[in-house]
Symmetry: C2
Subunit: 371 residues, 2 copies
């Protein structure tokens, strides 16, 4: 473990030197605001007990000292507040820490990770591997689950909570030979994410197969993050346009008229792709300035082309007892057409944060402690 | 109603002239992609049946004609696709349409709108007024509700769905005279939004009073959108910094370690404030470059000051049967301290889109049809 070898302070800045030569600049108001003593942070739950307005407007360093136990002892002006900072705590802010649950793009030989229902429900290790796969690969298949209706909700509740929507707690996807509605047809569906017209979009989708006597109807999945990164690589201008142009999305039926605006691709403060939304059925007419339309349409078509010809795709022919869990903000799904036969899936939505919230516990105080 | 007086086209652009003199530029690929015929849009549900990749790459206008019924008849090259566009449909994209449910900031004499439980459950008109208040003012009080436990979930289910979280379907806020935990104390709490460490953040919070024998403990609410707009007006630089600087948020207990990154203020593509997140207890140490910290801290303190000294605040002393419903992405809540007495609230979270999704139905085909 690295240790601090020196600290020097002047006015509102201090410079820490680490044993590996790294130097770190500390700003006094930041350090004062994030004091780790029991007056500032609740010793039991780690929550901050003060607000930024509770500290002096312009704290400066009165004294800094490297204690013999390696901690940093600091006293601030003008309030004379003293506290100690552990080197492990400080070091977190000196260099980025790899997130063990960060998404990793599908590679050429990617296959959907598979876990047996028995194993995920009886072994916490396997449960952990399953949830880690969902977090990193954006998809995992549970096999051998019960084929009772509503099992899909029970599987979601193994790790989190069902997101109830206007479609109910769960929804049925039944294809019959003589469909009365296109949704229940045997036609293929282009890959898409669900509910882009909802804000918040459901972070996870589960699809559980109860019956499948169809002669085709494979479920298609593609990695939207990979498609977005490919777009960024091959056509950075198109990527930038799609990441900054907000589109309207809409769904209406007899009971709701859901509308939302968002880009097709969203990136976070570190320029990482965090959401892909794409659904040809519910993208409403772009209401951007007419002069922006030619560039937008060129970018939009380019991305659509990548989604139709992805570098990698996964095809699963779900059999009864299979339940696929996938990241609805990343993985696009669709289905191949099939000629005949009954096919009954039950789906539900859930949120992702429960998964990461539980996974991080297992490695508390090590790599995941980024905050 | 306005009507089209002329249309002229050349290559991939057309110009429409309206009876009030407005002109509108139409880009052929946009118009072709949004064709309104039954091959392109499902006549029953309005969903698009094609993807942008299903139309020619560079559609142009073959002919445009103003029909005697006022519709626009268009034929495209190279696929020869013909369809008609209603002037009402086209006009929507020529000028912005006011959203009757858009947020309106609290004014000096703002008081929380009140609705009786009996009225909202027996009159669809009053139910509509209630939901409109939540959409526009970000808060509404229901009075005279039953004081049975779990009523809070039943009230959420009048319009939408409970968002189940690690705190359960509902959570109890009980203050007792000898608290074992600060959350159950009689201390004041600075105004905050709930769960900024969650992604997605719950869009709505409901707090239902079952008992209140305390001698104070008024619930404070402030309009975070108004505070954000005040910041934008008084200190545009600070506003810009807070709207573009992502902060880490965190909550951990024995069961979850929830982390999320987001700005304190988020704006949409039209530069409207759409989310305010602020919670001194769960804002984790800012992990932005040290050189950005001085400007960030100045902006952060300025915003904190506005939240402590808002232009308007609402104070409600909840009595048994009261249930306050508020927008957790906009309205900050807190409580005044109180000296003694039992106080029992039950809370739950829900999502906002159900409210707007239902409200829009009542004015379908008029002003809300923005998409």
């Amino acid at each position: 473990m690295h240790h601090v070898t020196n600290i020097e302070a002047r006015d509102d800045w201090a410079t820490v030197t680490w044993s590996d030569g790294l130097t770190q600049s500390l700003y006094a108001p930041w350090l004062r605001d994030n004091a780790q003593d029991a007056e500032t942070v609740h010793p039991g739950n780690g929550q901050r007990l003060i607000d930024v307005s509770d500290i002096p407007a312009n704290p400066t360093f009165k004294s800094t000292e490297l204690a013999t136990d390696g901690t940093l002892a600091v006293t601030f002006e003008p309030d004379g507040h003293s506290c100690r900072y552990a080197p492990d705590w400080l070091r977190r802010f000196a260099e980025p820490v790899a997130d063990p649950f960060a998404p990793r793009l599908w590679h050429e030989s990617f296959t959907v990770p598979r876990f047996s229902y028995d194993a995920i429900t009886t072994s916490t290790d396997v449960e952990r591997q399953w949830l880690t796969a969902v977090a990193r690969d954006g998809i995992a298949l549970v096999t051998g689950a019960p084929t009772e209706p509503e099992t899909v909700c029970a599987i979601a509740e193994l790790f989190g909570f069902v997101r109830h929507t206007n479609y109910g707690r769960l929804f049925d996807v039944v294809s019959v030979e003589n469909p009365t509605n296109m949704a229940f047809s045997a036609a293929g569906l282009m890959v898409h994410t669900d509910n882009p017209y909802r804000d918040p979009v459901p972070g996870l989708q589960l699809l559980h197969c109860l019956e499948n006597e169809s002669d085709g109807g494979g479920s298609l999945f593609i990695d939207g993050f990979q498609a977005a990164e490919r777009l960024r690589h091959e056509d950075p201008t198109a990527f930038h346009i799609l990441a900054t142009t907000w589109l309207p999305f809409r769904f209406r039926d007899a009971n709701v008229d859901l509308q939302a605006r968002a880009p097709l691709i969203t990136v976070d403060d570190k320029d990482r792709v965090v959401t892909v939304r794409y659904n040809n059925r519910s993208i409403a007419p772009a209401d951007i300035p007419a002069s922006d339309l030619p560039d937008f349409y060129r970018a939009y078509r380019t991305f659509s082309g990548l989604l139709r010809n992805p570098e990698t795709e996964a095809v699963l022919r779900l059999t009864p007892g299979d339940c696929v869990v996938f990241d609805n903000m990343r993985v696009l799904h669709g289905r191949k057409s099939f000629a005949k036969g009954r096919r009954w899936l039950q789906g539900c939505y859930a949120d992702k944060d429960a998964i990461l919230g539980r996974l991080r516990l297992g490695i508390r105080d090590t790599a995941s402690l980024q905050l």
